[in-house]
């Protein structure tokens, strides 16, 4: 059975104030609830010990807390951990915890599955099951055993964050608010394949970094990899980016998975240089981690390095992202809970 009562976790301070008022709780109680939720990361309403017993009973009567610990974890030889979280009764998402020398990043999911069907992605192969609520997105962080070590959050797990705009924006508000997790937006990156209207809203209403999955500078080649290119072409995405003043601290980066012979040639260096001309940005080159039944192959190490050097020579800041957690399928593009998806009747 799906959760019947709504969850407190994932509500904004304003919403909690409203709830407290509706339940007839004293005005200060809302601040206390918010503090228990997002600062003390409590895991049950009953543990909100500075609230009166009656207040806790009232809250429990109408709400659940809405947090749940990961149901399992896989640990990679390189220290990366992949956590499985439940969404509702029978859906699951994964979050990848990636510790590094001086930072620890959590890659969170925003949807169960994904509708975007990118050719190279395991989540895409799973199809779409449901949206995550802001609370379910934040629970991946709040219920993480390594929560206190986290330095960075990236919305690059399962799903297209900007296809779940409302809940993602709400989660960002709670993450970055003083009353919330109090995280700097400079430590948060939201990744998108370039859903233009939602991306525009995101840039106008959030200070977090933006990463755009590019993977080819050429319209006709990109749309074979990413169907979104048919409706929101990369060229238009970049035109829209150019209309914003991105000179402040916000970082715009382009994710570029390297596919052998497909997007790793000098022609592509030239195409990228032309496309991004004058835009303050960086490119992250990513090794492709083959998924089952794919016709795609990763570029060789040498090609990746030469590609990087060629872009740097053209004046584009370019890095090669370390592959992490490949052995536990936690690396980029490998997250999937397809095996846990209850079979649904398709429309065909």
């Amino acid at each position: 059975m799906e959760q019947q009562k709504p969850a407190l976790f994932g509500k904004t301070a304003a919403e909690i104030r409203e709830i407290a008022a509706q339940l007839g709780l004293p005005a200060f109680a809302s601040g206390q609830i918010v503090d228990w939720l997002y600062n003390k990361h409590v895991d049950s309403i009953d543990k909100m010990s500075n609230l009166s017993r009656q207040a806790r009973a009232l809250l429990s009567e109408h709400f659940v807390l809405g947090k749940s610990a990961p149901t399992s974890v896989q640990v990679s030889a390189d220290g990366t951990k992949k956590y499985l979280y439940r969404s509702g009764t029978n859906r699951f998402v994964e979050a990848a915890y990636i510790p590094d020398e001086d930072r620890a990043t959590l890659c969170v999911s925003s949807q169960v599955g994904c509708k975007m069907g990118c050719l190279f992605c395991m989540t895409g192969k799973q199809g779409f099951q449901s949206q995550l609520s802001a609370g379910e997105i934040l629970n991946q962080i709040s219920s993480l055993p390594e929560r206190d070590k986290l330095t960075n959050i990236v919305y690059m797990g399962m799903g297209e964050p900007l296809d779940n705009l409302e809940e993602v924006m709400r989660s960002l508000e709670i993450l970055t608010a003083e009353w919330g997790f109090g995280m700097s937006p400079r430590r948060i990156t939201v990744s998108t394949i370039g859903m233009i209207p939602a991306m525009k809203h995101f840039i106008e209403h959030s200070e977090c970094h933006l990463a755009i999955s590019l993977h080819s500078p050429f319209h006709d080649e990109r749309r074979k990899l990413m169907p979104i290119e048919n409706v929101y072409p990369a060229e238009e995405v970049i035109e829209v980016l150019r209309t914003f003043d991105l000179s402040r601290q916000r970082r715009i980066s382009f994710e570029y998975i390297m596919f052998k012979d497909l997007n790793d040639t000098p022609r592509h260096v030239k195409g990228l240089t032309k496309l991004l001309n004058g835009l303050r940005c960086r490119i992250n080159l990513i090794r492709f981690h083959p998924i089952p039944d794919t016709p795609l192959e990763s570029s060789t190490e040498q090609t990746i390095q030469l590609f990087r050097e060629a872009l740097v020579k053209k004046g584009i800041r370019t890095t090669v992202r370390a592959s992490r957690g490949q052995d536990i399928f936690a690396a980029c593009g490998l997250l999937s809970t397809k095996e846990l998806v209850k079979v649904q009747a398709p429309d065909f």
Partner: protein, 225 residues
């Protein structure tokens, strides 16, 4: 770029148009007809909205020479827009963007593969005269899911395959369109393959085509996200 709007964003701006007609094609499936403001290419979409909702996208289902535009949609039970669209009456106002999109038909021989309302852009392409060297494969759950069936039958004849996963009937292949595709002894890797509909259909069909030797360069997809 006045007011920070690119040409593309200006195109996405909504204008008010009047509903000219509405036909119920089957249970919870409708075609709506709107005044045509601009020319478009067969395969393009428009953004559509009511009451300030963020626009949803719909493939234009009419031909470029038709004096109106038609859109085909089905009601999503918990959807915000489609139940309201279904209750509109002729004369009611709704908001529409200019046409855009690059899932375009052309003269090259191809297979057009659709699930559910994903048939819409192929009707536009067919009405543009692009259907003569195409094979049309349409998947649906029930026998009444083959929208524009009569029109398609007369345009495509033997080149029109209706795959019905939950019912059987004359002229229908009993089974999912993915099963029909898997059963084909030969898939010509030199043809183009257009896929349109849900993500689940597109990713599954794309995998089947690739496993049968079709190069990815020959697969064009439009996902109804």
């Amino acid at each position: 770029m006045d007011n920070g709007l690119t040409t593309f964003l200006k195109n996405l701006r909504l204008e008010t148009v009047t509903l000219e007609g509405k036909i119920e094609l089957g249970k919870d499936v409708y075609v709506i007809r709107l005044a045509r403001r601009q020319s478009f290419l067969p395969g393009q979409v428009v953004g559509l909205s009511l009451g300030g909702l963020p626009p949803r996208l719909y493939s234009i289902a009419s031909g470029p020479d038709d004096p109106y535009i038609e859109l085909l949609f089905n009601i999503k039970p918990d959807g915000l827009l489609t139940p309201r669209l279904a209750s509109l009456k002729p004369g009611d106002a709704l908001s529409v963007s200019a046409p855009f999109g690059a899932f375009l038909g052309d003269q090259k021989p191809a297979w057009w593969i659709a699930a559910g309302t994903g048939i819409a852009p192929y009707r536009a392409m067919m009405r543009a005269g692009l259907g003569h060297n195409k094979m049309l494969i349409h998947g649906g759950r029930t026998a009444d899911s083959f929208y524009f069936e009569n029109e398609m039958l007369s345009a495509f004849g033997e080149r029109y395959v209706r795959c019905c996963s939950q019912e059987s009937g004359p002229g229908l292949y009993s089974g999912r369109l993915t099963s029909w595709l898997k059963e084909q002894p030969q898939i010509d890797p030199t043809l183009l393959y257009y896929l349109c509909g849900s993500a689940e259909m597109v990713v599954e069909v794309r995998d089947i085509l690739i496993s049968k030797g079709v190069p990815i360069e020959h697969v064009m997809s439009e996902i109804y996200f």
